[in-house]
Symmetry: C2
Subunit: 144 residues, 2 copies
DNA sequence: TGTTGTTAGTTACAAAATCAACTGTTAATT
DNA sequence: AATTAACAGTTGATTTTGTAACTAACAACA
């Protein structure tokens, strides 16, 4: 199609990043949705606990940069599904230590496998050097 | 923090892309929100019409990959604000040709300027070669 | 101790996204 | 022509998110 204007939306980084992010998230999303009925916030919490182990909602909040209300709700849903347990911190009773149950851990392990395969498949589509550049720049952008 | 697990969330491409996309969208979002009270869907529609000129909602849908209900509502809001007009297509009366008004065009021009500056600022943080690789791979990912 | 400020997490309400069902129009098939 | 299917776009119900106000616990300091 002929453009009336020389600005290219497809090269505007925030737009392009969003398109790439949505597209690349899609098939992984289909899996955790179909398999466990999870939302994005939920798998993220699950992964944080799976990777780093027992931690509080506050810590997940800082690491993931998600808003605390999102985390609060994701934790509530994961608890309902018996994927995690909460334990009040004895030292500071405002804090709750969150920890995956066996079921939560099993779900994490399965989804981690899916994620690793998927990531490898994505990376395969490019040269290793390019992927390294991509990861480097994305890290940088994510920390702006 | 010590990891209990060797999977790295920060290197999982869909996660990393989302983080980078959210972060990089943030300050641009603040501008169109504060300046025009627009949502993301709305500036996208505005930009499609600004760049490509008169077109139907269907065409915006295909180009942007946004769901048609989002576009329908964004168009309705932009029309309320007198940023665009609709005209029934004489040949196929299901279609509506959308076109920016002078006010819509002015808003687009201003936001385009902001976008270009912002994009240049982001790109400046990296080497030109790296940016080229980034754009290339993002294009590829966006079209998966 | 009492007051004030801060923090972790929840909840209530409003805004927005999603999904399915709907209207009106065109195209295809018989 | 009549029927059926497909399509552009809208609307309504439900789900999810965002914002702000809230509770309960701790900290600092007079």
């Amino acid at each position: 199609m002929t453009k009336k204007d020389d600005f290219d939306l497809q090269d505007f980084l925030p737009y392009l990043l969003n398109q790439a992010a949505e597209e690349s998230s899609l098939s992984f999303q289909n899996i955790y949705k179909a398999r466990y009925g999870m939302l994005r916030t939920e798998w993220r919490v699950l992964f944080h606990l799976g990777i780093y182990g027992r931690m509080s909602a506050k810590e997940i909040c800082e690491r993931s940069k998600m808003h605390k209300t999102k985390i609060s709700r994701a934790v509530a849903r994961l608890e309902e599904r018996r994927f995690l347990t909460r334990e009040r911190d004895a030292g500071d009773r405002r804090l709750e230590a969150l920890e995956l149950t066996a079921a939560g851990r099993a779900a994490y392990i399965e989804l981690r496998g899916v994620a690793m395969d998927y990531d490898a498949k994505l990376a395969e589509a490019f040269s290793p050097d390019d992927v390294a550049v991509l990861r480097k720049l994305l890290h940088h952008l994510a920390k702006l």
